[in-house]
Each structure stands twice: as structure tokens, then as C-alpha cells.
Amino acid sequence: MNVVVCAKQIPDPAAPGELDPNTKTLKREGKLILDDSDAYGVEMGLQLADKAGGGEVTLVSMAPHDEVSGLRTALAMGAAKAILISDDALQGSDSLATAKVLAAAIKRAEPDLVLTATESTDGYTGLLPAQLAELLGWPSITFAKHIEVTDGKAKVQRQTEEGYDEVEAPLPAIVSVTAGVVEPRYPSFKGIMAAKNKPVDQVTVADLGLSADDVGWKGARQEITDVVPAEERKAGEIVEDEGDAHERIVQFLEQLKVI
């Protein structure tokens, strides 16, 4: 079974991010790393291909400046190859434009299954998975906490607030996986050395048969009008137990209408 895993390369969250005051977007000049959220997809993809007894994991990533650092990490974990879309025309692409680009690249790989994270660590819109499914015309299952593939179908346990739903869809399908579904492996030294020689297919917007007008600032349907700092969290209220703490907590929660 061939699995495509969408692998976003993002600025290291450990280093404080910076916004470009003109475009109001995140600066992505430095080295980018594999989004931790996507390490789960990679691990899941590797396990599913392994269980199926054949097939491989192909990474698909859109990132500026021909960035491959994050892809190398995923290749070192065991993915077989990668498609990287990097093109100046992509500057300013919103999530729909990103989805168009990724969908075109995914089609090239002819996968049985596509995995994404539920949302990226930096952009965090969570829009991509459904947009991809719509553009490709394939079923979409979101928030997977367990995936099994049998008889050309993906059987998925889908995380809900109460527990999980059991859903299934014919392949090819797009499944977004939650963090914690599997324990991503650490790349070994051998894996890192092997990754050096694994193919990364670098393509442009034109290579994918897309027009530069569909992507980047031109193709964007979203506009960032303003960026404001999040409100600081207010200090909580401390309830000292003088024998009636439980009653006061219940009262407090009733006030908030949560119970």
C-alpha cells in the first residue's frame, strides 16, 4: 500500500517566531524543521505500509527556499521519497492555494491513502485536510486516533468529545490523524545516512500544471487584515477548603453554565 504523508516544514517553535509587519505573515527565512504534528502521520504511514506487507511512504511538502531539512527528518524515519513544491510564486498562498498545490502533487504519487495532521503547529487553521479531499474528490475522515486498512477500505476510529466514532471509507481517502495516535520513532544514525540518498523530487507550480494566478498573493481568497496579541489569561480564583469548597466550586461552575 502506498501512503502519501503531508509533511509541513515550519520554523522551529523553540525559537521565537517573528511576523513580517508588511504582509503580517510568519517570517520563514531560517531553517525549517518537520512539524511535530506530522511526525505522527509519518509513523502511522510507515506502520500501515509495513502491516500491508508492501508499499512505501511518499512525503509531500510545500515550503519556501527549496527547504528539505524537515523532509530529511521524515526520510530518516523511513519514508522512501518526497515531493517538494518550492516556488517564489507561492509567496502569500492561503490555505486553499496550498491545498491546490498539495492536491496536484498528491495526484502524481497515486497513493492509496493520504495522511495529514489535524492542524499544523504554526498556521493552525485545520482547513487543509477537508480542502484536499474536496479538490481530489476523495472521502475525508478527520481526527483519526486509529486506522486499519482492509479490503480496499480505511476503517477509522474518529476521536469525539465523548469517545470515538467508527467510520470507514473506500480508498483512496484522506485521513487526518491526531497527535498521540502512535509513538513516532526516533531516526537512527543509519536512517539519517540513508536519507541523504533518498530522492526528493523538486517541482514548481508550472510543473504541476497550475497557473501562478491560482496561488500566492494573487490566488489568495484570504486576507490578513490585522494581527493582535492574544489577551493575557486572567489569574484564576483560588478556593480554600473550609469544609464547603465543593459547594462553592459547584456554584462557580453553575454560574459559568458549564453544569
Partner: protein, 381 residues
Amino acid sequence: MQLDLTPEQEDFRKVVRDFAEREIAPYTEEWDRTHTFPVDTVLAMGELGLFGLPFPEEYGGSGADFTTLCLAIEELARVDSSMAITLEAGVGLGANPVFRFGTEEQRQRWLPDLCAGRALGAFGLTEPHGGSDAGATATRATLDGDEWVIDGSKAFITNSGTPITSIITVTAASGPGEISAIVVPAGTPGLVVEPPYRKMGWHASDTHGLVFDGCRVPAENLLGERGQGFRNFLAILDDGRVAIAALAVGLAQACLEQSIAYAKERKAFGGPIGRYQGVAFKCADLAVGVENARALTYKAAWLKDEGRPFKQAAAMAKLYATELAVTATREATQIFGGYGFIDETPVARFYRDAKILEIGEGTSEVQRLVISRELGLPVET
């Protein structure tokens, strides 16, 4: 001149750092307090491929260079010296003698498990009456038919009593003026593993005294040529010294990072203590020391990887880096004030863990002996 590590070495350093921070850091305090050797964590280090790093793939190794092993040891030591020495001794003293001096059959027999970290090897050189003068071994090995009979005792042997210890290589007098190395599998009748020592530091590392009482192993367990045991272990120790230097660099690096963070955050006399030169300059000196120690260590590792002589460089790196580590832990403890003396504070553990570095795999005095001799001085032992 090129002073960068390769991108692959940098990537792997990052992997080991992540592993150390996620799988080791949350538990170090507890292991230290309860003197626990964490078997599952050591097995996980094995799965990561750490124990097979410098060995060829045909024995289950990763085919990495020695510098890469040093990076892994450094990153573990930045978080936990006990796990770093478990790796250092497992590779340097356990597997390395088998790889360097073993026959093809011995390598095939013992290396795959050691490389995978499913099993740990130990090396018994030091004896209760003396370690620096290791040529004066009182342990005896007598050939009786097709078996060696070993009698004597060893002291302070790392990794010798863990649930996954597979082999212990011991040096013994196999005749007048003749020392040989012999592999004793764990559990061999006549091998008594004494209860663990109560140590000042390295609480999560496994150290025992060993007694050999008519302990019989097959004649083919001789490692390297008969009578070459002394020369061979000197070569093993040259490698080990660079690895111990790497461990010291990691420990000193941790002291530097934690000292800087604390000096920024702790306030006294109306401001962070880092604004007082008495504290800031300690950090500056530490930074210089760490840089120096790292440079000496990587240089020695590089010389070894290049196949050039490195005995002198190894002794220099070990001497400088371990003495720096002891200084660094003392200064970090000072910067942490009273909290530095409290065991929950990592620097308190660092302080206890550091001292052994100036002693094991050749004391500082022995390093100075080696360096003096390489300088051509007629120094006496």
C-alpha cells in the same frame, strides 16, 4: 581548515538530545534518589542504535565514526551522567575489546546483541588493591585442559551486574609476567557479582565488585593473543579516554546552560544575580572552559577517525575536560546558592556525578604521566 560537524552528525546530535530530554530527563531525579538502573531506558537507547554506533553493519552496528559516538555520549551526559557512562562503558569497554581483538567467530557470537543494546558488556581491569598500576594484576588464569580457571577479584566494574549483562572481559595473569584478556559470560559458575557499591554519584549506573573462585570458561574465550592483554587494554583505554572527555563536556555544558538560566531569573539586591560580575564572570569562564574542552575532545576523536596517533590528544582531552567538569559543577552549585545543595536541583546531582570523571579510565595523575612521557620526559611511575 574545516571545523563543522557534518549535517548528518548535527542531525543525529539533535535526535539524541530529543531522546535525552523526552525519555531520560523526566526520570533522572527518581533514578538518582532510588539508585535505579533503568533497564527499559537502556533497551530504548539500544533501539535507537546507540550501542552499535561505531561498529560495522555486518555485526549489527551503524557504521558511524567515533566522533558521532562522542556526540551521543555528550548529549546523554548533558541530561544524565549515569546513562552516558552506561553507554560509554557498554560500547568502549564492553563491545570495543571484542571488536578490536576478537576472532571473527567471537565477534559473530557476541557483537550483534551488544550492538543492539539487548545485552551489555563489561571490562574488569581494576582490582581491589590497585587500578592505576593495572599491570600488577593479582587475578590468575590457569589453563586446565581446554578450560581457563580464573581466581581473584575485580573492583568497581561498570555494567557488570545488570539484568542484561552478557559478558565481562577480565584481565588476568596467565603466566609469569604475562597478562591475558578472557571473556567470562555472566552467570558462569564461580563468578560472584557482589552487591552494588554505595556511590557518591552515578547512582543509576551499575557498579559491582567481582570475585572469581575457580571460575571455568572454555579456552576459546581468550580475547586477543595470549600475553597481549596488557597492551590491548591500553589501546582500549585510549579510545575510552576520548569518550569520557565527551561525557565531561556534556556535563559541563549542562552546568553552563543551567547557570546562565538561573543567573537571569534569580533576583538579589533588586536585580537578577547575573548583573553582578561575581556571577556573570563565572558564567563567562565556564563558557570558555566548555569551548576548550569540546575542542580538545573533538580534535582527539577526529585524529582517531583519521587513523592518526591520538594517545597524547586523548590524555589531554580527558585531563582537561574532566577537571573542567568538576570546576563547572562546583561553580554551578555556587551560582544556585542553597538550592544548589538540595538534591532536587539537577546541579546538586551534577556535583556528585562529576568527581569520578577525574578518576575512572585513568586518573588525572595517570593522564599527566602519559602526557609527560609523550613529551619525552623521563618521568617515573
